[in-house]
């Protein structure tokens, strides 16, 4: 559905240095990378909002010279960017020609906001606003949906629920999606495949499993949440506390998840994460070993 | 090049402007009269001119006399119209030196006035005199002559206009130059006696003067000899006696001329209009419309003129070239004396 070939873009200096990527119909691909790595630029290039080099094809059709409004590509931005002078229905229906109240209602149902049509957008919570933005982006039935850090502005609790909701909606519609995020959990939850973007090039494209189990390099390893010790990547359950372990570490933080304590610690300038059966206070000195 | 840039803009605006220039047709049927804001004539008098000659008159009013004359000088050769009316004897020389006029003098004006101003036609005369508030001077004598103003009993009572910015102000200065034995000393004494100087006639008459429609505190003002008649004719009750009066002494005679503008599109029409300005119909209309005296001796004036604003008996008459020769120096000297 989407084909990128040697796509480049630059502002004052090159931001994208030749991106090759294919997204199949109905597939959700998520670009993962640090802030400022060119992720948003890539999406904006696909949408036609920034000039770019290389080839961009949507549904087999080259996008050279096609202005954004004729690309049939939908986009959801980091901030909801709902039009403040229109109500919820006005926002959702903005891209519909001719006006189609039934479709607006249907889209609101889909995102779980039935009956919100006449509400002013300033009365919505952050999560509701993002749902409206999603409904608005989906209403004109785009061939491809671009999500630019769609949950970036939301708090953690809200985000977890919303990501699943959005994923459900996108799957239901069989939507082809290219999303970008800097949050690996979000990427892993949402995506069929994840593409890691670093300094304007894609360093690895694969399923979450592949990234987790066979990271292409230590950069990808760290990005997906693996711990790197002496040039090798380890999953949290591969690292344990051991009085005679080879590494000395200082605990920097801990969280409790699903019955386990996840502890993070610093080892020789690296951050490692391991599973532990008890809570360790930050500052504690421990020794670690790998299995 | 710059002008080329303007063209699209002009075209765009002209398209939506209701006063867009009309396409010139020949022969001209329009006479454009350029004049000052105080010009006025009865519409039926203009209609009569149109009926007689077939010319329609368009009036362009362009500020006060100074502005009209200066604009005319700046556009000498490519004038804004065909006839200029309103240049007076204080400005005439400058206008003529500036090449504003094409020589033409209509027949029928009094010889003395006509001879003093070859190339143009005198149409009316006015006089700048002291005016006073009759109510204020109900029990005490008003000044009999400008020379009286330096006396202690008239301390802080007089307001005059700056001759550098006001035509009556200049007229009054010229009258003192002409009639006071030592005009510089006279002004020093006036200053010591608390004379107030303001920039324009409106300010002096309405804001500083206490008589008639004035709302100020000073009962003596430099104004026109016809101001008392105007007070009567423009008051609520035209039957009531005038609240102000003029002092018939050392009044300065202003003569207003009409001339054909050099480069006029319709010089023939311009000459016809100037001829018409000396006709009985036009002359009879002048006094009532513009509060000046028609030059033709037997022309009609309103009754209030005869009662309150008779022409001054012995006005100061200065030839245009005499004024032109001295005015700048006099104004500079005056400014130095008055600290303006």
């Amino acid at each position: 559905m989407l084909r990128l070939q040697a796509v480049t873009a630059s502002y004052d200096q090159p931001v994208l240095r030749g991106i090759d990527l294919n997204v199949a119909r109905g597939e959700i691909v998520c670009i993962l990378g640090p802030s400022g790595g060119g992720k948003s630029t890539l999406l904006r290039a696909v949408a036609g909002l920034v000039p770019h080099g290389g080839l961009i094809e949507v549904a087999g059709e080259a996008m050279v010279g096609v202005p954004p409004h004729r690309r049939g590509v939908g986009m959801m931005f980091q901030d909801d960017l709902l039009f403040p002078h229109l109500d919820v229905a006005g926002n959702v229906g903005f891209g519909l020609r001719p006006a189609d109240p039934a479709r607006v209602a249907q889209m609101l149902d889909l995102v779980g906001l039935s009956g919100f049509g006449p509400r002013g957008v300033d009365t919505l919570s952050g999560g509701q606003a993002q749902r409206v933005a999603l409904a608005r982006a989906l209403a004109p039935q785009p061939r491809l949906l671009l999500l630019d850090e769609p949950f970036g502005a939301l708090d953690v609790v809200l985000k977890a629920g919303l990501v699943l909701d959005v994923q459900r909606v996108l799957r239901e519609l069989g939507m082809t999606v290219l999303a970008v995020t800097h949050d690996r959990q979000e990427a892993f939850t949402l995506a069929d495949r994840v593409a890691v973007l670093r300094d304007g090039t894609l360093v690895q494209v694969g399923t979450p499993d592949e990234l987790w189990n066979e990271p292409a390099d230590m950069y990808v390893a760290r990005l997906v949440g693996l711990s790197v010790l002496e040039g090798r990547a380890y999953r949290p359950e591969q690292i344990r506390m051991s009085a005679g372990g080879p590494w000395s570490a200082r605990v920097t933080g801990r969280t409790f998840r699903d019955g386990h304590h996840l502890v993070s610690a610093r080892v020789a300038g690296e951050t490692v994460v391991f599973v532990c059966d008890r809570a360790l206070e930050p500052g504690t000195e421990v020794r670690l070993a790998v299995t | 090049m710059k002008k080329l840039l303007l063209l699209p803009l002009v075209a765009a605006l002209a398209a939506c402007s209701s006063t867009a220039p009309e396409i010139e047709s020949s022969p001209p049927t329009e006479v454009v009269l350029v004049t000052h804001d105080s010009f006025s004539v009865s519409k039926k008098v203009l209609r009569e001119f149109s009926e007689q000659t077939g010319y329609e008159v368009t009036i362009v009013q362009n500020g006060d006399t100074g502005q009209v004359v200066n604009s005319a000088i700046l556009s000498a050769g490519v004038p804004q119209g065909d006839v200029l009316f309103g240049v007076d004897n204080t400005f005439l020389s400058r206008a003529q030196e500036g090449g504003v006029f094409e020589d033409y003098q209509a027949a029928g004006a009094p010889e003395q006035l006509a001879q003093a101003a070859p190339g143009v036609t005198p149409i009316d005369t006015g006089a700048v005199c002291l005016n006073y508030d009759r109510e204020y001077f109900a029990d005490s004598p008003p000044p009999a002559t400008p020379a009286d103003l330096v006396k202690p009993q008239y301390k802080d009572l007089t307001v005059v206009q700056n001759p550098a910015t006001s035509s009556p102000g200049l007229a009054f200065l010229l009258s003192t130059v002409s009639r006071q034995p030592d005009w510089q000393t006279y002004w020093e004494q006036l200053k010591a006696n608390g004379v107030k100087v303001v920039d324009g006639w409106e300010n002096a008459y309405y804001q500083q003067f206490s008589g008639g429609s004035g709302e100020g505190t000073r009962p003596i003002v430099v104004s026109y000899s016809t101001s008392p008649a105007a007070e009567v004719m423009f008051s609520e009750d035209p039957e009531a006696p005038a609240p102000t009066a003029n002092v018939d002494s050392d009044c300065f005679q202003q003569v207003e001329y009409a001339g054909v503008l050099a480069g006029a599109r319709n010089p023939e029409g311009a000459r016809a209009f100037i001829d018409y300005m000396l006709s009985a119909t036009f002359q009879d209309d002048i006094a009532e419309q513009m509060f000046v005296y028609p030059v033709v001796p037997d022309a009609a004036v309103p009754p209030a003129f005869e009662e309150y604003s008779a022409p001054p008996t012995d006005p100061v008459v200065m030839a245009p070239e005499q004024i032109a020769a001295g005015r700048e120096e006099w104004i500079d000297e005056w400014s130095a004396i008055m600290g303006q």
């Binding site: 949408a47 036609g48 909002l49 920034v50 000039p51 080099g53 050279v64 010279g65 202005p67 954004p68 409004h69 690309r71 939908g74 986009m75 960017l81 039009f83 403040p84 002078h85 903005f94 608005r136 004109p140 671009l146 | 710059k2 002008k3 840039l5 002009v10 605006l13 002209a14 402007s17 209701s18 006063t19 220039p21 010009f39 006025s40 009865s42 009013q61 502005q67 200066n70 700046l74 556009s75 490519v78 804004q80 700056n162 550098a164 910015t165 920039d199 300010n203 008459y205 309405y206 008639g212 429609s213 100020g216 104004s223 007070e231 004719m233 423009f234 008051s235 609520e236 419309q289 509060f291």
Partner: protein, 540 residues
């Protein structure tokens, strides 16, 4: 390269957009002023130099600067509290007060000065004679210019996100600190922009100085008028005009102009005052401002009904039965002429000023962009007399003879109104979130549709402010208009001055009656334009 995209605001596009106001200024401002200077130099440089070495010239310049600075400060002192109260609180008569403050701004300065003379002149109602003193000028200037600060600052305040200030207060800032550290930095650029306008206005003040200055106080503008219109000393006039221009440019360089700060989305930030302290504060400011604005206006209206110390409608009767003479002012024709030229000039000023604002908002602030920005203010700081005369010189002879067409008046008025439009629109355009247009584009809407359905409604409040200003400025414009006479019907301000130039109590009353009409028309138009902004949200 794929270049046909919405996000591509390349320097080519910006240059093209900015070319509109630059060409407009070059043709209508630089060319005329150059024409005046050229004529001034035609007799050699001696005439111009003579003025510049005259100590009196520098005295006048000093006084001009002093009175303008004092007037600006006085205006700010009164207008800032008024703007804060009008923008921040809901109270009865708020809409009326908003409209009312704009009325003085439109009144011919000669009429305003006369009203002030009636209040603070030799026989003033208030019992103090401030004529001939700088304080009289300052008061009148403050009255005339309140609207500039109240409106510009008010527009900035209305786009502020109240959460910002609330957030600051949650962080422990006192109310005053929150205002000083959060609100003020956000609105300061607007205050600076408004101050610059007020200063320039006072710097080139003419009518007020002529009447209230009592012949004793003189500004450069008055000197220029005397030199051009009366003495025909064009070398002197040109020298003074250049001096004025240099002073204005210097001031613009010193003041510069602030970048506006992007605030969050905001709606109406106003609320009812709470507690007796707040209520009395609001009431005090509202009543004070209203009195300040209304008193001189009432004096004008009152005097239209006063003939020879008696109440009478004679002035109105004369105005409405003008009689069969050519000099008779037909009030309705004057109203129509005023509306016609003002509407045309406003449209032109909006087009040119809008292009300027878009161009300025599109670019990152470089030096040349800043100089364009500063240059756009120049017409405000330049003598209307010079511009009017220059236009006459530049466009008064074939092949471009625009005299007698009425077009020059429209152009001159647009020139005066354009800086306001730029001042008001640029900060808003700069902080307008262009991603809204991108949203519209990816929703399949054409750029044109997006401009109409998204940008226009969101920027409407700002646009209405700009239109209101432009309209008001053009409606009251007199200086250049009076120089560019046409055979068409006179505009109301010109008609008023013609009435004032004739003697007689009834004629004076008629002049005030015409002024009252001008006042009412302004109020109606301004209130009407304000109604247009009913659209609820504003986002920047």
């Amino acid at each position: 390269m794929d270049r046909r995209v919405v996000g591509d605001h390349g320097s080519v596009g910006r240059t093209a957009v900015l070319a509109v106001p630059v060409v407009f200024l070059l043709v209508l401002f630089v060319v005329p002023v150059a024409a005046v200077v050229r004529v001034g130099l035609s007799e050699g440089p001696a005439g111009m130099l003579g003025v510049l070495v005259d100590a009196r010239t520098w005295g006048v310049l000093g006084f001009t600067l002093l009175q303008a600075a004092l007037s600006t400060v006085a205006t700010l002192i009164v207008a800032i509290p008024a703007a804060v109260v009008i923008a921040g609180y809901r109270f009865p008569g708020r809409g009326l007060l908003r409209a009312l403050v704009l009325v003085p701004f439109v009144m011919p300065t000669v009429v305003v000065a006369a009203a002030f003379l009636a209040l603070i002149g030799p026989t003033g109602l208030l019992g103090v004679d401030l004529s001939g003193s700088i304080w009289g000028l300052v008061l009148a200037h403050m009255f005339l210019n309140l609207a500039v600060v109240i409106r510009v600052l008010g527009a900035a305040l209305a786009t502020l996100d109240p959460d910002l200030e609330n957030a600051a207060r949650l962080l422990g800032a006192s109310r005053w600190q929150a205002w000083r550290r959060v609100t003020w930095p956000l609105v300061a650029p607007s205050v600076r922009a408004a101050s610059a306008i007020v200063f320039l206005f006072c710097f080139t003040s003419f009518g007020v100085v002529q009447v209230l200055g009592d012949g004793q106080l003189r500004t450069l503008e008055v000197q220029i008028y005397r030199s051009t219109a009366y003495l025909l000393d064009l070398p002197a006039a040109a020298a003074l005009a250049l001096l004025q221009l240099i002073a204005v440019v210097a001031m613009l360089v010193v003041v510069g102009r602030g970048r506006s700060v992007v605030a969050g989305s905001a709606v109406d930030i106003s609320r009812r005052p709470r507690g007796w302290r707040e209520i009395s504060l609001v009431a005090g400011v509202v009543v004070g401002t209203a009195l300040l604005v209304v008193t001189p206006l009432l004096v004008i209206a009152g005097r239209s009904l006063l003939v020879g110390g008696q109440w009478s409608t004679a002035g109105w009767q004369v105005l409405f039965s003008p009689g069969e003479t050519t000099n008779a002012v037909d009030p309705w024709a004057a109203v129509l002429a005023s509306l016609r030229t003002s509407i045309l000039a406003t449209v032109l000023a909006m087009l040119v000023g809008g292009a300027a604002a878009i161009g300025l908002a599109m670019g990152r602030r470089g030096t040349w962009l800043r100089s364009v920005d500063a240059m756009l203010l120049l017409p405000l700081g330049t003598s209307a007399v010079t511009v009017g005369l220059g236009m006459l010189l530049a466009f008064g002879r074939p092949p471009i003879d625009l005299r007698n067409t009425g077009l020059l008046i429209v152009l001159a008025q647009a020139l005066v109104a354009m800086p306001f439009v730029v001042r008001v629109l640029t900060p808003g355009f700069e902080s307008f979130d262009r991603r809204y247009l991108e949203v519209a584009a990816v929703l399949g809407r054409t750029p044109r549709h997006a401009l109409r359905t998204v940008a226009a409604p969101l920027l409407l409040p700002l646009i209405t402010v700009a239109v209101g200003f432009a309209f008001a400025v053009t409606l009251g414009e007199f200086g250049a208009t009076v120089f560019l006479a046409t055979p068409a019907d006179p505009t109301l301000p010109v008609a008023i001055s013609r009435l004032l130039a004739r003697p007689g109590e009834v004629t004076v009353a008629a002049a005030y009656a015409a002024s009252t009409m001008l006042m009412l028309i302004t109020a109606v138009v301004v209130v009407g334009i304000d109604r247009l902004r009913a659209g609820k949200a504003v986002v920047f």
